[in-house]
């Protein structure tokens, strides 16, 4: 038994090392375009992880996540262009701004469940986008957005301005987030979240402060999305409201659903699917949505838990096939 276990862990570990190794050497062999594609894969991975906290861990339907992402990006853009604060200093600032926004906005709606919460979050995301378009206090630049954002700099000659440096920046942040999230999953908070997801009433009656834990999930999720927004803004050097449409929120939702709710490797697969798929199939862009819809339907039928569902503590999904099989028996 003991030996088997270590053997299993050994193979998993070597797989992990292999993947990390590929990620490290990958950008040295491909053109800038593919590095940038991998960079946006990283952005989506980070956003997927952030939504996963809300949707995957606690089971709160949040279809307005692009709103938090926008808050992070615009906080960075505005503070950097108006006050000249360096991007890397703004990284935590953006996270905090998005977190505070989430706290304020989500406090009154946190008691809503399922579809109702979903509708309210859609509204929230749209309001953020419309507010940005309407240029409040002449800050957001209306439909044209904010431009002229700096590169992240460590001071002196250490400036992140090439594709490859951005690639490493985003993936280092993704890896740090993953480590943090795994620790969180196994903590008291993570277990409380999962408990709320499985049965809110039972969770409440066993002494879990449901409201605070839900709010905490929203705040942490929003803060992580704010980090993604910060890096996105500095990479593009300009932000505009088109980047934070309802469609973006849907994409993030899909990442979590495709990958597997609450499963970190699943989220990475989902993010890869969402960000790489449209690039690879750009020549067939017209049929992209068709294929996309079909994939989603097939997923829901045959692998409702996602490509890589979470093994333990994940939500219970019974696929159509296994249900049919059970009936046969």
């Amino acid at each position: 038994m003991e030996r088997e276990k270590t053997g299993f862990f050994g193979s998993q570990q070597s797989l992990l090392f292999a993947i990390v190794g590929i990620f490290i050497i990958y950008p040295f062999f491909v053109s800038n375009y593919y590095i940038d594609v991998a960079f946006f894969f990283g952005i989506y991975a980070l956003l997927g992880l952030s939504l996963n906290i809300v949707l995957g861990e606690v089971g709160l339907f949040d279809l307005g996540h692009a709103g938090f992402y926008a808050i992070g990006a615009y906080t960075t853009a505005i503070l950097n262009t108006k006050l000249g604060i360096p991007i890397l200093v703004l990284l935590p600032v953006s996270a905090i701004a998005a977190g505070i926004f989430a706290y304020i906005v989500c406090s009154p709606i946190i008691h809503l469940r399922g579809d109702y919460l979903c509708i309210v979050t859609i509204g929230m995301g749209e309001i953020v986008r419309l507010a940005l378009i309407n240029n409040p206090f002449d800050l957001t630049g209306g439909p044209n957005g904010v431009y002229g954002i700096d590169f992240p700099s460590f001071g002196g000659p250490f400036v992140i301005d090439s594709s490859i440096e951005y690639y490493f920046l985003i993936w280092i942040i993704v890896v740090l987030s993953i480590i943090g999230l795994i620790r969180l999953q196994n903590s008291r908070i993570g277990r409380a979240w999962n408990c709320i997801r499985e049965d809110e009433v039972a969770a409440g009656s066993s002494g879990i402060d449901v409201k605070s834990y839900k709010l905490l999930a929203f705040v942490i999720g929003a803060a992580l999305a704010g980090v993604a927004g910060n890096i996105y803004a500095s990479k593009l050097m300009a932000v505009s409201p088109e980047s934070f449409s309802f469609w973006e929120s849907c994409m993030l939702f899909c990442i979590v659903l495709i990958g597997g709710m609450g499963s970190i490797p699943g989220i990475l697969i989902g993010a890869a699917f969402i960000s790489l798929f449209p690039e690879i199939f750009r020549p067939f862009a017209m049929y992209r949505m068709l294929v996309f819809g079909l994939v989603m339907i097939l997923m829901m039928m045959f692998r409702p838990g996602g490509v890589w569902p979470r093994k333990r503590g994940g939500p219970e999904f019974v696929s159509l096939l296994s249900r049919m099989r059970k009936k046969d028996v």
Binding site: S31, N32, Y33, D36, V37, F40, N135, G142, P143, N144, G145, Y147, G148, S163, Y232, K235, L236, M237, A238, V239, S240, E242, S243, E279, R282, A285, M286, R288
Partner: protein
């Protein structure tokens, strides 16, 4: 199975070799086109693509450039989205054979894309990007063939007072971002003339959009006795304003901004009153008087059945034309040479949208705007 496998391998090898075979002949000059082929502005992207293809076709029919090399358009899709725009630009600059790029539709998409072109030193010419700030970044490789958001005000200042021999000008706006912006730009453009005292701005005020009765502001306007009256808002108010102004005896010529006059305006005001109302507007493709435009639109219609329905695609064709022209004249495909040439030596080159030239910032020289007028039959035509 094994045969299949061999076939597959041979096929792959052929696929890889194909491009090399093609290059054995006269190598074409590749010009990139970045545009929204998919996404919310897909029709704009599609028309831009078709326009560039027609422009390239016309060049090639005349024997190509650089002594017989063909022009090839390579299209990349930016989906009308800033992120994809940045990726599309990275993709184009990564292709060594792409000499320069026509890019793109939408100012906020152009912004990140042009940053990348600038960084990798590739000439890029915007065709549907009107935000003023794009050319205020001291970029070396960015140009545009379309006008700017403030072109219309400048056009008004340059041509309207002169046309009507007007000394006293009234400007009325509606406090919307667009209307107010245009009014402010116009005021700014009139400033040198105001300072010199050749014209006088006697009225500059706003009306409230959505209202039905404008007698109060119009009476004020009447007392000032303007020679020409510029309204920068939308057609619904414009029609009511014209009706009520004529009623109380404001007789000076009415000039609307490009949102003020359309068929609805003529319907609400009635042909009698609408007749003789002017507007400043971008030229629609069908109205362009130039030889190049006629030739281009004919080729376009022959191939696609109808002419482009929006003004922007023809700017894309002109962007392609001017790149090809610059390559031909300089005999070089080097970005620095091309950028220098476009900035300093291109002046009054005949294009589809009129003579093309660039300012030091990379803006289009001369403003592609026209004064339109409502004729006796209620049609909106270019004023002679």
């Amino acid at each position: 199975m094994k045969i299949m496998k061999h076939l597959l391998i041979v096929g792959i090898i052929l696929c890889v070799l194909m491009p090399f075979n093609a290059t054995a002949a006269e190598k074409p000059v590749v010009i990139g086109l970045q545009g929204p082929i998919t996404g919310p502005w897909a029709y704009e992207g599609e028309m831009a693509k078709q326009s560039c293809e027609i422009a390239a076709q016309l060049i090639n029919e005349k024997g190509g450039i650089l002594g017989g090399r063909m022009v090839e358009v390579r299209v990349v899709d930016d989906a009308g989205e800033p992120k994809t725009g940045a990726l599309a630009a990275t993709k184009l600059v990564g292709q060594k054979d792409v000499v320069a790029s026509v890019s793109t539709y939408g100012s906020s998409i152009c912004e990140p894309a042009s940053n990348i072109y600038e960084k990798f030193k590739k000439v890029n010419i915007g065709y549907g990007v009107t935000a003023v700030r794009l050319t205020q970044r001291d970029f070396k490789y960015f140009f545009r063939t379309c006008g700017r958001d403030d072109s219309q005000g400048k056009f008004f200042a340059d041509s309207v007072p002169q046309k009507f021999g007007a000394k006293k000008i009234a400007i009325m706006h509606d406090n919307t971002a667009f209307g107010k912006g245009l009014a402010e730009d116009t005021k700014g453009a009139l400033k040198p003339m105001l300072d010199a005292g050749t014209v006088e701005l006697i009225y500059f005020d706003a009306i409230t959009p959505g209202e039905k009765d404008f007698h109060v502001p119009l009476t004020q306007l009447r007392e000032k006795k303007p020679d020409v009256w510029y309204f920068t808002g939308y057609y619904a108010e414009a029609a009511l304003l014209v009706t009520q102004a004529r009623e109380i005896g404001v007789t000076c010529p009415f000039v609307g901004g490009n949102a003020a006059i359309n068929n609805e305006f003529v319907k609400i005001a009635g042909i009698d009153l609408a007749k003789g109302c002017y507007m400043t507007n971008e030229p629609l493709p069908a109205d362009l008087p130039y030889k190049e435009a006629k030739e281009f639109l004919k080729a376009y219609k022959d191939k696609f059945g109808e002419i482009p329905s929006s003004p922007w695609p023809i700017y894309a064709a002109d962007a392609l034309n001017i790149i090809a022209y610059a390559i031909d004249k300089t005999g070089s495909v080097d970005s620095d040479v091309l950028a220098e040439y476009l900035r300093n030596d291109v002046n009054g080159v005949p294009g589809i949208t009129g003579p093309i030239g660039f300012t030091a910032q990379g803006d289009r020289e001369g403003v592609p705007f026209y004064l339109y007028v409502v004729d006796e039959n209620g049609n909106i035509v270019i004023s002679k």
